[in-house]
Symmetry: C2
Subunit: 135 residues, 2 copies
């Protein structure tokens, strides 16, 4: 665990959030299409603020339908994701992903189940570049 | 705006979140009583992860009753809070606090209304010490 990687916000077509974040943090430094969402990364002084703009279906749309727009998850950077997952699994921490999958900006990621952390969805991120790549 | 100051999580008596955060980030470096809640600050590699443990009443309890446990707000560090609020107010950004109030660890803080940022509760923090004081 080497610290906070990003905080993610889920939203829909409303541009209010993107406009405020751009005015506070500058324009997004990276934009990428995920499965059913557009992901934007704002530089928040080391960690990123990530916005997830939902399309018509997918995990972000389902989150919006259930909880409305707002904070979605928090992501921590780890050095060795496979080791971290094996350790958490061994300790009985409930995981969504037992195996890493591809994340944005060339990272490997895995999510813990929200019940692992009192209702907070947590992502672990491993950056194979050793540093976050500038998109 | 100098970057992310903390990400806050609201919870109740359930210790699962605190235990996971302590295992990932180490024990809290600061604990403080707020009005109706206990605030703990975990070092997340620069920014903090803040947990808000609700008592029987107050803003955190009302949040839990309405939304359940989970991510509560995100806080950005600013150099001059009064100037930042005046600027946002002039631009018509909806504010909860038009005047700064006292925050944890000797800071001055103010909240924007969630409608300012697509449903995300945002706090601005000014640290008069010029750095976050170790509690």
């Amino acid at each position: 665990m080497t610290g906070l990687h990003h905080v993610a916000v889920a939203g829909g077509q409303d541009r209010t959030g993107e406009e405020l974040f751009a005015s506070l943090l500058g324009e997004p430094m990276h934009t990428e299409q995920g499965e059913g969402f557009t992901e934007r990364m704002y530089d928040a002084g080391g960690p990123f603020l990530q916005t997830l703009e939902a399309g018509n279906e997918g995990v972000v749309r389902r989150f919006l339908d259930k909880r409305g727009p707002g904070l979605h998850h928090v992501a921590f950077l780890v050095d060795r994701l496979d080791d971290a997952l094996a350790d958490l699994d061994e300790r009985g921490v409930p995981l969504i992903d037992r195996e890493p999958r591809s994340g944005g900006m060339g990272t490997r990621v895995a999510f813990l189940h929200p019940s692992a952390a009192g209702g907070v969805l947590i992502e672990l991120v491993e950056d194979p570049e050793g540093e976050v790549a500038d998109g």
